[in-house]
């Protein structure tokens, strides 16, 4: 599958000031996430510490209920820790208001979901344009930028189709294009191959590898050992704690 030859925008080319060249993209320290349930609490994360460096490819693995998705939501600033410290590019996330977090998600984070989560009434290219609405990009930039993102996932020929007309692999590529369109620093994928057969799953894995090779920081949540082994670092969670960390 051909990828565009242009540099990967902010995805890989993180522009840090020189003195922060080695600062981690994301830092979590003793992060706890607990949900109230009736009188008691459900603890999804029970003290997770973690650093993610720019350009890294990290897999988060573990049985269901181990807190993988909660961790991914916190990494993507979609959820907030109940306790503990969280830094994004050296800035504390706890002090940010809801609008600032939304802005951070929009500019710095790209989400890829297991069930694609494309908006059914929009065409593929319109789905890819959606983050640009929230970025406040000028309208005439939308189409070229969305098409460039679609080009990078090899889906330009499906731009005007509805999500319901796409195969699973195509839908996930569209979702990846949507995650890429704002040139985020961090790409988060939650079971990106979970709803795909093994062959298209391999295609998506290859696409993510390719993006990573171009410099993207990728964090994957997966059950899939093969997908996990492709990462530089694998974090295994159990009962809301980091059970082990390995470099395959």
């Amino acid at each position: 599958m051909p990828l565009a030859h242009e540099p990967l925008g902010g995805l890989g080319g993180v522009k840090h000031p020189p003195d922060e060249g080695n600062a981690p993209l994301v830092v979590l320290r003793d992060v706890v996430r607990a949900y109230p349930r009736g009188a008691s609490q459900v603890v999804a994360l029970a003290g997770v510490s973690l650093e993610i460096r720019a350009g890294e490819k990290l897999a988060i693995m573990g049985p269901s209920g181990s807190g993988k998705t909660t961790l991914l939501s916190i990494l993507g600033c979609l959820d907030r820790p109940t306790a503990g410290e969280q830094l994004f590019e050296g800035r504390s996330v706890a002090s940010l208001g809801d609008d600032a977090l939304s802005r951070l998600r929009n500019r710095a984070v790209g989400f890829v979901f297991q069930a694609f989560h494309l908006i059914p009434q929009l065409t593929v290219v319109e789905n890819v344009e959606t983050p640009l609405l929230y970025e406040g990009a000028p309208l005439h930039d939308w189409r070229p930028r969305a098409l460039r993102a679609l080009e990078r996932v090899g889906l330009v020929h499906r731009a005007d189709h509805r999500p319901s007309e796409l195969s699973g692999g195509e839908a996930q590529r569209a979702a990846i294009a949507r995650a890429l369109v704002t040139a985020p620093r961090l790409l988060l994928a939650d079971e990106p191959t979970g709803n795909l057969d093994s062959r298209t799953g391999d295609e998506i894995r290859a696409l993510l590898d390719e993006l990573h090779a171009q410099g993207a920081t990728v964090v994957l949540v997966t059950h899939n050992e093969a997908l996990g082994r492709g990462a530089e670092r694998v974090l295994r969670l159990r009962d809301g704690r980091v059970e082990s960390e390995e470099r395959p």
């Binding site: 939304s102 802005r103 989400f111 908006i119 949507r178």
Partner: protein, 402 residues
């Protein structure tokens, strides 16, 4: 318009089209509410315009004095002719005063006849009643002084008696006497619609002759007149002027005449109109409340079934207010569409009312603008809670929803 709003409008239109039936049903309340308001206000506006037209014909700056009602069996009371002169001298700001004798007669000319209102008056009447000549001349002072038998015909009289030729110079028999036609009047809007607030005189049916030339045969009070009309230079003093005039006449006759002040009638009419407006407003408020609740209901359903979309949009960087804006645009689009259809239906209703009930109706263009603004306000007002609810959804929870 900001690009975001354009996109939100397109987006909203698309999701509403996705559920055509549901969207159409949900705006019915607004449609009928707006239609009722437009139709009812058209009735009010029609009545108002008619009143205004009558007032314009009578003149907002005029006063008509009529003798006090006489007791049963007594001859009809009159006003002293001399009062006209004293009014002209005494009433502040008076511009023209004209006495009138009024007799319903039949007029004949060249084998045709018409039932007319013969008005004996003076040249000042042209100014007092704002008469416009179509042809010839009006009554002159010499006509009055010499009791000349000349006549000025109202537009419909002229048409009825002289359908094929100019009436100027022709003779008309009025009662028992022959008059020479010297002029004709222009057609005037006639206050003939039923339910009119003011019963004006139809001057199209009038034949104007010099006051002393109108013979009433055996009049017990030859110096009496039936009406005195005067017009002021400025409409503001019309109520006081009417009071002065009444006092003046009472001093000479002992009884206060009746004063018809169109401006007062207009005020009265405005008070009635205000009551009507309050009733219309209440009906509008209730129907729009019902319509709005329907909108809120459908928007809540829409938010519920699109919870996951809200989660996705939040993940893609939508702020709470972006989510709220999306649903507000949608609900406003619904109600404004309802407002448009409602206005159209209301216009049809106004035409039907005029055709079948015979009430004059008129739609003020501003009313349509107000209807649309109100519809927009209903959309924002009743869309607010659903939008606020959507904006407050927890993104993680929302994404998990199937």
């Amino acid at each position: 318009m900001s690009p975001a709003l354009v996109v939100l409008l397109q987006l909203g239109a698309r999701s509403l089209r996705l559920h055509k039936l549901r969207s159409s049903l949900s705006i019915l309340g607004v449609v009928f509410g707006v239609a009722a308001v437009v139709a009812m206000s058209s009735v009010g506006e029609g009545a108002r315009r008619e009143t205004l037209a009558q007032i314009a014909a009578l003149g907002i700056d005029t006063v008509t004095l009529k003798p006090p009602a006489s007791a049963l069996g007594e001859p009809a009371a009159t006003l002293p002719l001399a009062a006209a002169d004293s009014l002209f001298r005494v009433v502040p700001g008076v511009q023209a005063v004209a006495p009138l004798r009024v007799v319903e007669l039949s007029a004949d000319a060249g084998g045709r006849s018409a039932s007319v209102i013969a008005l004996g008056t003076t040249p000042r009447y042209a100014d007092a009643a704002r008469l416009e000549l179509a042809a010839g001349r009006f009554l002159a002072d010499l006509d009055v002084a010499d009791r000349k038998r000349v006549a000025v015909l109202g537009a419909s009289v002229a048409r009825a008696l002289f359908p094929l030729q100019s009436p100027l110079g022709e003779s008309v028999r009025l009662g028992g006497d022959w008059y020479r036609v010297v002029g004709t009047l222009q057609e005037r809007a006639s206050p003939r619609t039923r339910g009119a607030a003011i019963r004006g005189r139809d001057l199209n049916r009038a034949v104007l002759v010099p006051l002393p030339a109108l013979d009433r045969g055996g009049d017990p009070r030859p110096d009496g007149v039936d009406e005195i009309v005067f017009r002021l230079a400025n409409a503001d003093g019309v109520t006081q002027a009417a009071g002065v005039a009444q006092a003046l006449v009472r001093r000479s006759t002992g009884a206060a005449p009746e004063a018809v002040v169109p401006r007062e009638i207009l005020r009265q009419r405005e008070r009635t109109q205000r009551v009507f407006n309050v009733v219309t407003g209440a009906v509008a408020a209730i129907s729009l409340l019902v319509g709005g609740i329907g909108i809120m209901n459908i928007m809540l359903a829409s938010v519920a079934e699109r919870t996951r979309e809200v989660g996705v949009r939040r993940a893609l960087g939508a702020r709470r207010r972006d989510v709220a804006a999306q649903f507000l645009v949608e609900s406003s689009l619904l109600t404004v569409t309802g407002g448009l259809f409602g206005s159209a239906l209301g216009l049809v209703g106004a035409v039907l009312i005029q055709t079948f009930a015979g009430w004059p109706t008129a739609v003020h263009p501003l009313m349509l603008a107000v209807a649309l603004i109100v519809a927009l306000a209903v959309g924002i007002g009743f869309g607010f809670y659903p939008a606020w609810h959507a904006a407050g959804l927890d993104p993680v929870e929302a994404l998990r929803r199937e």
